[in-house]
């Protein structure tokens, strides 16, 4: 039983947790800057970039995917500007068209591409392949100390650990700047902080989190984790540091329970097959947000206009 859990569930849950945390941390700052949809937009726009990078390199690896995603982001910005000027429509509409259009284009070229040798298809793009990131060599907890067994851990785990560690590290180092730029960007400039550099770096970090999480967990989780855990966390506290810790906790909770319910839940109700883990993790994060909206201790203090 334990061995089976370690073989089939431990790594996917860990990857789910780390991917969730990587997205949730920048999500806190995006939400407070009223830019929550940037995470959403980025995870849509990067798809064609990732697919094109894959077509050129033939492998799924983080650096080409990041470059592809960055290229796609630049194309998106240009397209938005062109549509805004030529069509004379409002920016929100231009963005909406470009994001969904590029995502759909990504799906189209993905379908036309020979991806039989690697795990990259439309379903993968949406749902990831969390369930396949298993650790067959594991024989029990003692495998955690066995070098041979450890070397067969899925590569995705190392990559997402690296990204999650990087995001945690940068957040701790630049905490004070992030906080003041998020609260009062103009004032931050007047005390010698390069606000636009910090804001730009936040978007870059968001893109890195989106791309790294994308390869293992798919865009559905990425979109959910940028918004749900931080939004729920805001309703639990009136302190920024506590909010970030709550968001990490909620992301972790969603990954663990979402994965377990997806894998074992249907059996409890007499069903035959497991449901999509990525989908269930996203749903679970939504349920947490709903519960905090109903019962969170600070929900009344948010969004109220004071005279």
């Amino acid at each position: 039983m334990i061995t089976e859990f370690i073989q089939f569930s431990l790594t996917p849950i860990l990857i789910g947790i780390l991917a969730g945390i990587s997205c949730a941390i920048p999500g806190n700052f995006l939400i407070l800057k009223s830019q929550a949809l940037i995470g959403d937009a980025i995870s849509h726009v990067v798809l064609p970039g990732i697919v094109v990078a894959f077509i050129f390199t033939g492998v799924i690896s983080t650096i080409p995917m990041l470059l592809g995603a960055a290229g796609a982001a630049i194309v998106a910005v240009l397209l938005i500007e062109i549509i805004k000027r030529l069509g004379k429509i409002e920016p929100g509409a231009a963005m909406g068209v470009v994001f969904t259009g590029m995502f759909a284009f990504g799906v189209l070229i993905l379908e036309q591409t020979d991806t039989s040798k690697v795990h990259l298809d439309v379903e993968h793009a949406l749902m990831g392949n969390l369930e396949s990131l298993i650790w067959l060599k594991a024989e029990g907890w003692e495998s955690l100390f066995d070098r041979d067994a450890l070397s067969t851990l899925p590569d995705e785990l190392f990559r997402i650990t690296l990204v999650c560690g990087l995001i945690l590290f940068l957040t701790l180092i630049f905490w004070r700047w992030l906080k003041i730029v998020t609260f009062d960007e103009e004032y931050a400039k007047t005390i010698g902080i390069r606000s636009s550099l910090i804001s730009f770096s936040l978007v870059i970090i968001t893109a890195i989190a989106a791309v790294a999480a994308f390869e293992s967990v798919g865009s559905i989780i990425v979109i959910a984790m940028f918004i749900c855990p931080p939004a729920a966390a805001r309703l639990m506290t009136n302190k920024l540091s506590t909010q970030v810790i709550w968001s990490i906790f909620f992301a972790t909770l969603s990954a663990i329970f979402g994965y377990i319910i997806a894998g074992y839940g249907p059996h409890w109700f007499g069903g035959e097959n497991a449901v999509s883990a990525a989908g269930m993790i996203a749903v679970f994060s939504g349920i947490i947000l709903m519960l905090t909206c109903l019962y969170g201790p600070y929900r009344e203090s948010v969004g109220q206009k004071k005279v």
């Binding site: 009223s34 609260f183 400039k189 005390i191 010698g192 009136n238």
Partner: protein, 269 residues
């Protein structure tokens, strides 16, 4: 005509007496020129008002001085030296509506932001910084509320917190963007007392001001702008009907009526 004579007037403010000197400042938003070739020279250890109708470029002027809004051209000097390496001598108090007060933080935290430059990116806030912040809160009459969540503050209290944050910077020049807009009478009194105490300590205060009825009471010096510099100089010589007419044009009567009714409201409450 009047602007010519006033410009000669201002050239009398030489570096030892000049706090902030602006030469040929032009700023635009896209195709729209917000301020055009403005010269101004604000004296040291005094209280200066920047007045003008809506859209005259008052806030833009402050923002481009402090580097928040990029300028197309212009030279800005602080005590006779280029502003570039002297930014820390200026403290800026933005309009309180420019931020989201639902941000998860408390009063003490916001005031301590004024000390970020002093403690650096990773330096710790020690007891000394906390007591400086506390002292600044005390000066604006907010010491009791230091633990208050900022979302629970009234407009006047928000403005006082912003002023306390600027005080914590211990600057030489204080730039305030409409500090009295939408605040209660007690707060206006408290703020003006703090500003006057700054002046008495040889600090220079420059505020964008909306209420024409109080200009004479509060300030010694005035810059009247409407995209261009219309007039500037000592209140007694410059704050004249003629200059007001050229600054506000046809809008004056309306503006004046509005402002006067506001000041009447204030005296009755």
């Amino acid at each position: 005509m009047s602007s010519m004579s006033d410009n000669t007037n201002t050239s009398k403010i030489t570096p030892p007496n000049s706090a902030l000197e602006i030469q040929g400042l032009t700023v635009s938003y896209g195709d729209k020129t917000a301020i055009f070739s403005v010269d101004a020279n604000f004296p040291k250890a005094s209280m200066s008002a920047i007045i003008g109708p809506n859209g005259a470029g008052k806030s833009t002027l402050l923002k481009s001085v402090i580097g928040v809004q990029p300028k197309l051209s212009g030279q800005i000097n602080i005590f006779g030296n280029p502003i570039k390496n002297n930014l820390k001598k200026i403290a800026y108090v933005p309009q309180r509506v420019s931020v989201d007060w639902d941000f998860p933080t408390n009063v003490m935290d916001v005031v301590q932001m004024g000390l970020y430059r002093q403690v650096g990116l990773l330096g710790r806030m020690r007891g000394k910084q906390t007591s400086i912040a506390m002292e600044c809160l005390d000066r604006v009459g907010m010491a009791d509320l230091w633990q208050q969540q900022i979302g629970q503050l009234s407009g006047g209290q928000q403005q006082r917190v912003f002023l306390a944050r600027a005080l914590a910077q211990d600057a030489e020049i204080y730039l305030l963007d409409e500090p009295f807009s939408g605040v209660d009478a007690a707060t206006e009194r408290a703020i003006i007392d703090v500003l006057k105490s700054l002046k008495s300590k040889n600090k220079s205060v420059i505020a964008v001001h909306h209420d024409l009825a109080t200009v004479r009471d509060y300030f010694d010096y005035v810059l009247m702008i409407n995209i261009k510099n219309i007039a500037e100089g000592l209140i007694n010589e410059t704050f004249t009907n003629e200059n007001l007419q050229s600054t506000y044009g046809g809008k004056l009567e309306l503006a004046h009526a509005e402002e006067l009714s506001v000041s009447i409201d204030r005296t009755t409450t």
